[in-house]
């Protein structure tokens, strides 16, 4: 009987040991499996992969695929875009999981830089957020400014006016940040007045394209960047209701992850790519994107000295220093 107990406990211990080993293995074995590829895909090993966290609005327009195609042909650098909301992208960069971010929320960007995670910010291009909605315009916001329109939608929505629905990204993205700023300017407290204030306010929790499709199904108002709307317009019955309100300027920036925080990042690759984006070639490519397909460019590249003046107030021309 005693020996039985000994055997049992020995067995249990060995199972625990194997389990521990197995947990270790699952982390390392596939890694071993990847070693043949390590020179080509692992950012730590290769200087020829650049991981970029970016916004869904850029990915959904197809601009990133175009940039990737041209840049990869020219330099052989493998650009890998991970499309997330701006908030999540900045957080991914804070963890050192990417080399660079391409985002559009100036306040969040400044915070990211102030915390020491981001260096060498360069503004690249801008376009406008627009408010799109059903043709019938049930809240009657046409010809209003963006802030007035938000106020009108809130009043109509909370009064349960038929057909007034507003779809929010609800995902802490750059567009969502802009929406919250507009609610604030309109005099509302986002968490107290807007959230859970009724069926008129719908949080999608998805990317820009998904949110537009959802808003289209619900015949709702939605705040969107112009680029994504134009590239989706042929699949939507929603029409632009408010455009080019100065409150709706949407600026895109590239920021490198600070190699002093994360020595493993591809700092040289990031610097080279930012410098390419702000070069005349990069700007022309961005400025021409969508002209043929949509009849107007989706993004307007920023040039000095315009970019250093209000409302932009950013750096767009000076090349960033390239680490050795």
């Amino acid at each position: 009987m005693k020996t039985n107990v000994a055997i049992l406990s020995a067995g249990a211990v060995s199972i625990l040991f194997i389990l521990a080993l197995a947990i270790g293995c699952t982390g390392t074995v596939p890694g071993g499996n990847e070693t043949p590829n390590a020179t080509t895909t692992a950012p730590a090993a290769g200087a020829n992969v650049l991981k970029i966290a970016t916004t869904t609005s850029l990915e959904n327009t197809g601009l990133l695929a175009e940039l990737e195609r041209v840049y990869e042909n020219e330099t052989g650098m493998d650009l890998q875009f991970i499309a997330q909301g701006t908030g999540q992208s900045l957080d991914t960069a804070r963890r050192g999981d990417v080399d660079l971010v391409l985002v559009h929320a100036p306040a969040l960007e400044q915070q990211f830089i102030d915390e020491g995670y981001g260096i060498d910010p360069r503004c690249i291009a801008y376009n406008y957020f627009i408010i799109v909605g059903p043709k019938e315009d049930p809240a009657g916001i046409k010809n209003m400014s963006a802030v007035e329109a938000f106020r009108a939608i809130y009043i109509a929505g909370t009064n349960k006016t038929a057909g007034v629905v507003f779809v929010s990204r609800g995902d802490n993205s750059g567009t969502h940040a802009q929406e919250k700023a507009l609610w604030k300017e309109a005099g509302y407290n986002y968490t107290e007045d807007i959230l859970d204030s009724g069926a008129w306010y719908v949080e999608a929790g998805k990317g820009m394209g998904d949110t537009l499709i959802l808003a289209n199904e619900k015949k709702a108002y939605v705040l969107t960047d112009e680029g994504t709307y134009l590239s989706f317009a042929d699949r939507l019955s929603l029409v632009p209701v408010i455009t080019e309100s100065t409150e709706l300027m949407n600026r895109y920036s590239a920021i490198a992850v600070n190699p002093a925080k994360y020595p493993g990042v591809n700092a040289k690759g990031a610097a080279d790519f930012i410098n390419w984006l702000i070069s005349d070639e990069g700007k022309q490519l961005i400025g021409d994107f969508g002209k043929a397909e949509f009849g107007k460019p989706l993004f307007v590249p920023l040039y000095a000295p315009e970019c250093t003046q209000p409302p932009f107030n950013c750096t767009c021309a000076e090349p960033v220093p390239t680490p050795a």
């Binding site: 067995g11 197995a22 493998d78 050192g96």
Partner: protein, 231 residues
């Protein structure tokens, strides 16, 4: 694209994408198979011996362990994704491997996801062998090792179906690979994440094409499964 039935049009375009071997579709399909097959291989390597150990050894808490494994059959893929993301992230304990946003990381995530399933199914496969048969084998004077090998040989088809089920779960999941892989075009995009993305971009025909392929893979697994079980 709004006019006409998007389903019918999408379907026709989808067939076109498949029969013309659209390079993007082919690439994504191959990557999907590579990731999930490799994950199934590693998971089997770990889970089958462990499952056998659990079956052949009597120990306290065995019942609880098997119940736990069976509960983990339903392990939500997003939770595996979240945990693996935190482990593999640069500031996580395994960050030095630089596996986040690589196929290697996706393989690791799917491996973890299906290990409990494979272990549990191995235990049930072996339990499926008649106890009398096992006693008979022993009674006939077989050594312990001979007993073990005979029982395993008897149960091999049942174990095989477990492995196929594990593969099916791996290739059809989207939560873990989306979080750990990041759905990077040309690097970590697989069938399921590509379907999610293309749907969000309203490229329904591409989604349908990839969906058809994913279903065909599942069908293939099922055919193999029924062939195995018929023996």
């Amino acid at each position: 694209m709004v006019n006409g039935s998007p389903v019918v049009e999408g379907f026709i375009e989808a067939i076109n994408l498949i029969v013309t071997l659209n390079p993007q579709v082919v690439e994504i399909t191959i990557r999907s198979l590579y990731v999930s097959l490799t994950a199934t291989f590693f998971a089997s390597l770990v889970a089958l011996p462990l499952g056998a150990l659990i079956y052949f050894y009597e120990f306290r808490g065995k019942h609880a362990l098997v119940s736990t494994l069976q509960t983990l059959y339903a392990l939500p893929t997003v939770i595996v994704g979240l945990i693996m993301f935190l482990l593999l992230s640069n500031i996580g304990p395994f960050g030095f491997l630089r596996l986040l946003y690589t196929p290697g990381g996706m393989i690791a995530a799917q491996t973890v996801l299906i290990i409990p399933l494979l272990m549990g199914l191995t235990v049930s496969a072996l339990s499926g062998i008649d106890r009398d048969k096992r006693y008979t084998i022993t009674a006939l004077g077989a050594s312990r090792l001979q007993t073990v090998t005979t029982v395993i040989a008897e149960a091999r088809f049942a174990v095989m179906s477990g492995v196929l089920l594990g593969f099916g779960r791996a290739i059809s999941e989207v939560g873990a690979v989306m979080i750990v892989g990041g759905n990077i075009r040309g690097a970590t995009r697989v069938l399921t994440t590509a379907i999610a993305l293309n749907t969000s971009m309203a490229n329904y025909s591409m989604s349908i094409a990839l969906g058809i392929i994913l279903l065909s893979v599942a069908l293939g697994v099922n055919v193999v499964l029924s062939l195995v079980q018929r023996r």
